[in-house]
């Protein structure tokens, strides 16, 4: 059968940009000049955030995460509110809204109000450049990858503002530590993304997806090390376990969020998830092919493929959160600077060399598969070699204690039993 090609009609749901185009063109004819821009902005917000992201956030982020973590911990997740607990996020939202949002008297009220805004706005803005389909991008900026990096450095300021406005010595120090951790994980993040940019040759996210479409291979296979480093760095940016010193015992007494209650805290929590979904969407776009699926996108609506992939990637976040313990903050930063950054630089070097050879010698396109296999092999070897070089030798740790039969006092370690 011939695959359906998405047509231009407004009712063709496989390309939702038809609907928005019809609405905007119709509005342009009716409304005075200029107002259509406002309408376009509103429509973009509604389409990308309210329709795609907010339900994802509620159902996958709040409900799905709690159910999945519950199952990992051998218990049911929420299953009281609604059938199978599906209305749990709504119950959470209602609870948070009706809670009294206490503000300490000597805190800085203005900054305390603004900090959640500074946290919510980037998470919403990130979805403006992510391609949901061939024509479905809100703003096709030529440098959309850098836009992502730029916007992802904004929530750091929100953390700072939240920690400072509480007028509490401990939350201040907690905020400082978290900001130090976040900015030290930004460097390997940028380096790993650079590797992907070098292969694809473009900074534009839609361009990367089209590259994957053209060469029928995902960037995640060509630079697997970049994907792994990106995953670790972005879960550090999102303050998720194993790097969530934000939520946990930073100084035991307080984190930067202690003075927040009610919906202000709910905004932080919700946008944590929203930002995680944005990071997953970004990873899917760059490394996992975006809305393409080796030709399936001509049958299935591409935005469905994209959303499915995003949620699957988000499950990886949930999985590591449920399983791994937490690293101490100085260990975290040592990990970023001593382990991840050199790895990212190695990756960049290898990828850039390959790209140069590929472009200059004019090899055929099929060589990219060769590079992919080579890169996967080299990445695994490099991970093990670099970990060993840095002294991470888990095999050296004895997992069973020594056993003696008779009590007799101190048994030195060297003594053979």
């Amino acid at each position: 059968m011939m695959p359906f090609l998405a047509s231009d009609k407004w009712y063709d749901l496989r390309d939702l940009s038809n609907i928005s185009r019809e609405i905007l063109e119709g509005a342009d004819r009716v409304l005075p000049f200029g107002i259509v821009y406002v309408l376009a902005a509103l429509l973009g917000f509604v389409a990308s955030f309210l329709i795609f992201v907010l339900p994802s956030q509620l159902f996958v982020g709040v409900y799905g995460e709690r159910k999945l973590i519950g199952r990992i911990q051998s218990r049911y997740g929420p299953n009281r509110v609604g059938p199978f607990g599906l209305l749990q996020p709504i119950a959470d939202a209602i609870k948070l809204i009706q809670k009294e949002a206490l503000t300490p008297t000597r805190s800085d009220r203005v900054v305390m109000y603004i900090a959640p805004l500074f946290f919510v706005a980037p998470a919403v803005l990130l979805f403006a450049v992510i391609p949901f389909g061939p024509n479905m991008i809100f703003a096709d900026v030529p440098v959309s990858l850098m836009y992502f990096l730029a916007i992802s450095s904004l929530p750091v300021l929100a953390n700072f503002m939240a920690g400072w406005s509480a007028n509490n010595k401990y939350s201040l120090f907690g905020a400082i530590r978290i900001v130090a951790m976040t900015i030290s994980y930004e460097t390997p993040l940028v380096m790993s993304l650079l590797g992907a940019v070098v292969i694809a040759g473009t900074l534009n996210l839609q361009g990367m997806v089209l590259w994957a479409d053209e060469y029928k291979i995902w960037l995640g296979f060509v630079t697997p090390l970049a994907l792994v480093i990106y995953f670790i760095c972005v879960s550090a940016e999102l303050n998720r376990t194993p790097t969530d010193i934000a939520e946990a015992e930073s100084e035991i007494v307080a984190g930067y969020l202690t003075e927040y209650s009610g919906m202000k805290w709910g905004l932080f929590y919700g946008m944590d998830i929203g930002y995680a979904i944005a990071a997953s969407a970004f990873a899917v776009t760059v490394f996992l092919g975006g809305w393409t699926l080796f030709g399936l996108e001509q049958w299935v609506p591409p935005w469905l493929i994209f959303i499915g992939k995003t949620h699957l990637f988000y499950m990886l976040f949930i999985w590591t959160r449920g399983t791994l313990p937490r690293l101490r903050s100085d260990q975290l930063m040592a990990f970023a600077w001593k382990f991840l950054l050199p790895l990212a630089l190695f990756n960049l070097f290898i990828v850039a060399t390959e790209r140069m050879i590929w472009a200059e010698e004019g090899y055929p396109d099929a060589y990219v598969y060769l590079f992919a296999m080579f890169n996967i092999l080299v990445s695994i070897l490099l991970l093990f070699f670099w970990a060993d070089f840095n002294g991470y030798k888990p095999g050296d740790t004895p997992t069973r204690p020594r056993l003696v039969k008779e009590p007799r006092g101190y048994v030195p370690v060297e003594e053979q039993l």
Binding site: D108, V110, P142
Partner: protein, 171 residues
């Protein structure tokens, strides 16, 4: 470059930038001053977008807001409370005088320069920028990286504790 949208955006961005810049000067609290500074940087990034230099705009946000503003915030937050007052000092009058002189110089230069305007901005893509940096301007580029490396090493040296220095001593 004309168009209602562009003009509207220009005036809005100009208002935001100038108001936040004056907020930096006039706010009593040093922390608030830094926040206004961040807003100023974002406004300038908006101007770069208007000039079709998106790469520079994003680089401005990444570097200025993401790194330099955070650095300034660290410095502000680790100072004791007493010196966090951004109030008026004795240097207000000489400062204002200096600002007026500088403004005069700028205005004269702006007035006397023969500005060339084009209808369409030249289409410079990021790859052209990269080529320029690595072919024509490679020496300043490398000098900048040497300077940054020196700053890194200096920062590490400043914060070493006595035990670490003793460990790495050459003897």
């Amino acid at each position: 470059m004309d168009g209602f949208g562009v003009t509207f955006a220009f005036w809005v961005l100009a208002a935001i930038t100038l108001i936040s810049a004056s907020g930096v000067m006039y706010s009593r609290n040093l922390f608030h001053a830094v926040l206004f500074l961040i807003l100023t940087f974002i406004g300038v990034a908006g101007f770069f977008v208007l000039l079709s230099a998106e790469f520079i705009a994003m680089a401005q946000v990444i570097i200025y807001v993401g790194a330099i503003a955070v650095l300034v915030l660290f410095a502000v937050l680790l100072t004791p409370r007493a010196s966090r007052d951004n109030a008026e000092t004795r240097m207000a009058l000489p400062g204002a005088l200096l600002a007026v002189c500088l403004a005069a110089v700028f205005l004269f230069v702006i007035h006397d320069t023969g500005w060339k305007t084009t209808a369409e901005p030249p289409a410079i893509s990021t790859s052209d920028l990269g080529n320029a940096l690595l072919e024509i301007w490679v020496l300043p580029f490398l000098l900048a990286s040497v300077l940054l490396t020196a700053a890194l090493i200096g920062a590490i040296m400043l914060t070493r504790s006595a035990e670490e220095e003793a460990e790495d001593a050459l003897l």
